[in-house]
Symmetry: none
Subunit: 209 residues, 2 copies
DNA sequence: TTCATATGAATGAATG
DNA sequence: CATTCATTCATATGAA
């Protein structure tokens, strides 16, 4: 409710710098959400360990799971994508390099970066080049677009949030924290329960609960 | 790196309210972090399922595998709709402009249109821009659709020939899975690597948490 | 719930 | 670089 003030404050304050603003409460929720995931991961890992110590899973192809079935087996019907998509790790690295601000990376740098990112997944120099190209352009455009005046009628029914740009995800997320108390104090949580946590927080299933 | 001073912006606004301020980059970072967790959780769950069912699972689905919790929506009312939706009036105007055939509206035109549509409801230049972008693209695709009759589109495959200069390898199967694609081959080390990813995803660059 | 579809938005790549 | 295109992702909505 009060958040919009802060946004406008940032607007007239420093013109060029753009910031997202969140309350302590929201931040806390974010923390919790990450915490939830961490906990869930831990649990799952534990579970996995206990299982694998009993069963031998040699022969399983865990990693292949996301190999597109369309092309993995029969070899026909390739609807494959031809577009490179950075893995989170790659993206992370790219972002870091970008933030370091060393401007446009030259040919040599591109090569280096490509080499490094190659450790984390398929990538080419062109990909890197394009990425920086786009990143720069869009980063710039985002800063020039701040004039997001939503001077709609005040007497509005909808409580309007100040955002209206790349903020939506986080906002929703914060409201979606899947309560991890259950996970925290339950020494031996069942898999089904875990699953329900995951699904509740993850996909659907909470439309009208 | 320069996120600190933004606090002043919040300060001059309303003194009593406390806010955290973050840059787009930080926000993106956070998003990724959470995303990594989410996906890892998914993967772990998949693994678990595979193990417990002892099935081969030759080609697992992956189409709707990733339900990014970030996107999970709740019917909360405080958070306004996260996606812009043109009002009938706006749509009508947009369609009219589009039909006038003046091709791609340039930056200036976008501004005008946005201004005009702003009279009829919340809207941003980006919205307008996207709308025309999508309108054009989909209008074009629609025209190519009728060429779909009773033909033998079964074993037919479109080879990815157009890209031999850039991406010699086949990487299209990765499908935006975060960071564990390198464990796609060895079931033994798969888990270990996943673990390491987990650590990475959990500990790296947590700027402020 | 599940599936199908329309569409706003994000983004890698191509073009000038 | 600035624009634009093409493809994909994600969500809102409605039917089965």
């Amino acid at each position: 409710m009060e958040a919009e003030q802060a946004t406008s404050g940032a607007n007239n304050g420093i013109g060029s710098l753009y910031m997202k603003v969140m309350t302590d409460e929201q931040l806390e929720m974010l923390r919790q959400q990450i915490s939830v995931y961490a906990t869930i991961c831990d649990r799952l890992v534990e579970m996995h360990k206990s299982i694998t110590t009993q069963q031998d899973l040699a022969g399983m192809r865990l990693g292949n799971l996301y190999c597109d079935p369309l092309m993995a087996c029969s070899g026909h019907k390739i609807t494959a994508r031809q577009r490179w998509t950075p893995t989170p790790l790659q993206l992370q690295i790219l972002e870091r390099i970008f933030d370091e601000g060393n401007g446009t990376p030259n040919k040599q740098k591109i090569k280096e970066i490509t080499l490094e990112l190659g450790q984390h997944g398929q990538i080419s120099e062109t990909n890197v080049y394009n990425w920086f190209q786009n990143r720069r352009a869009r980063s710039k455009r985002k800063q020039l677009l701040p004039s997001q005046n939503n001077l709609e009628a005040e007497a509005d029914v909808e409580v309007e949030s100040p955002k209206e740009k790349k903020m939506p995800e986080i906002q929703e997320t914060i409201h979606q924290v899947p309560s991890y108390e259950n996970l925290s104090h339950s020494p031996d949580i069942g898999f089904e329960q875990l699953m329900s946590k995951l699904e509740t927080g993850g996909c659907y299933g909470s439309y009208f609960l």
